[in-house]
Amino acid sequence: MLFVVPAGLVLAYSFFRRSAIGGIDYSFTFDNYVRAVDPFVLKVMLFSLRTALLTTGIALLFGYAVAYFIATRPERYRLPLLVLIVLPFWTNLLIRTYAWILLLGNEGLINRSLRGVGLVDGSLPLLNNEFAIVVGLLYAYLPLMILPLYASIERLGRPPREAAADLGAGPVAGFFRVTFPLTLPGIMAGCVFVFVPSLGNFIVPDLLGGGLQIMVGNLIQSQFFTARDWPFGAALAMFVITITLVLLLVQAWILNREKRYTARAA
């Protein structure tokens, strides 16, 4: 209930009109959705989707490697290695984002070090662009990718891989035809856990994007604070909610198919 009521309200508000004084005029309209087709808004949405997708892709690549690495260590090292992955995740997102300002800025640590060893002359444009946003989002959500991946790789154990090798599959074929499909549930979960919060994040683009590269989260935030157009903000939020629900449904569908498949095999 505590969640359904607010979510329902967001849906309801998205159909209302903004009143002259910035309040809400309770009359039904589709205007807020029509306005979302505006080129500027579309551009922001596409940029958000692209950035979240890029973040998820990179997180999957590195996350899979780390999860696989941890899962294949001797058992007593696994828990400490996992705790080290999760620990930074439990600190303030603002602080974690702020740290990257110190690192990526023109006078930041990375640029100064590169200049110090004479690799660059001026400074690399590391802050206030999409690169900085992706780095910030990766830093914020990478553990959410590694945990479900680790869980599914660890459950797998060695036998399927060894069986594949015994049957003559090369390591690459063995990976793509055995390990990868069997860890698909973990992959899906990790991707959803990274993609969804990346899409709705507004702190990272706000602090690392320099206000030039804005994402849908920033747009929602400005509708509720500066523009005081709550209904339009709510309509934008519906876009995020819809994508989240679609992804969750796809995930549930894949998991179910997986289950039916194993049931039939048994």
């Binding site: 967001v10 080290l84 620990l87 600190t91 919060p197």
Partner: protein, 267 residues
């Protein structure tokens, strides 16, 4: 599998892991290091100094916000621990439903900003004045879910026959709960409470939307970061890091040790 391929694979995996661990910890080390830098800027090292911590203690705006956050986090922890534990027992014992389970986890999956504007709309609709009280209500909504998830993992390992034994020996239902069920799941409840405290203590987005003119610590930190770097923030960050790390490590130990003990007993 040919051994050589295995070794190359291990090397690639090991290298990626080093990169990832470095990526995770470099920023933290930089912040902690800079908080002791006399110059206070990332541009150069001016010698060791604790002056920024002194400045932090004299910063009344930050101290007031810190007090607010402490009050919010403590109240939220108390309420959400009770509600979350009841929710966990209810879910585990009475209504085992997959749909309800996944519905409950929606707020944990949906981006914070969506929950934040939903709660803001709700508070406005019922005419609540925005302030610390609305932040508390908002935090309870999602903290409760984390508490119940943690308590449920304890309840999952729970051997119900000891409850039956207590009742066979003449204990009433209430006495069974208080003297058998509760002590067994207590480590889970404490771990849940610590996690709830940490989340509420660090939470920014929902507090930002539902705060009105009140300011919690993260809200102040955000405006400081937005309007220019201040060296005090490095000291603030270091303090926050230490607080969260301690809380989480204690919670992990509690739950880990309890889980191990339960496992040993089972074997």
């Amino acid at each position: 599998m040919p051994r050589k391929v295995g070794r190359t694979r291990d090397r690639v995996l090991g290298a990626s892991s080093v990169v990832v661990y470095g990526f995770l910890y470099l920023p933290i080390l930089v912040i902690v290091g800079l908080s002791f830098n006399r110059v206070g800027q990332p541009t150069r090292w001016g010698g060791f100094s604790t002056q920024w911590y002194g400045e932090l203690l004299r910063d009344t705006q930050l101290i007031d916000a810190f007090k607010n956050t402490l009050v919010v986090a403590l109240v939220v922890t108390a309420i959400s621990t009770v509600l979350g534990t009841l929710l966990a027992i209810g879910l585990e014992r009475t209504v085992r439903s997959k749909v309800l389970d996944s519905a409950l986890f929606l707020p944990a999956v949906v981006p914070d900003i969506v929950l934040a504007i939903g709660l803001l709309s709700f508070f406005t609709l019922v005419g609540a004045t925005l302030g610390l009280r609305t932040i508390i209500a908002a935090h309870v909504v999602f903290d409760m879910i984390f508490v119940s998830a943690i308590v449920r993992t304890r309840l999952g390992h729970f051997d119900r026959s000891i409850e039956e034994a207590a009742q066979d020996l003449g204990a009433t239902r209430l006495a069974t709960y208080l003297r058998v069920t509760f002590p067994v799941i207590l480590p889970g409840i404490v771990a849940g409470a610590l996690v709830a405290f940490t989340i509420s203590f660090d939470e920014f987005i929902i507090a930002y939307f539902t705060s009105g003119i009140a300011a919690t610590f993260p809200i102040r930190v955000y405006s400081r970061i937005r309007f220019g770097q201040t060296p005090v923030i490095n000291a603030v960050a270091t303090v926050l890091l230490v607080v969260s790390f301690t809380m989480i490590l204690i919670a992990a130990r509690l739950n880990g040790r309890a889980a191990r003990r339960a496992l040993e007993r089972a074997v």
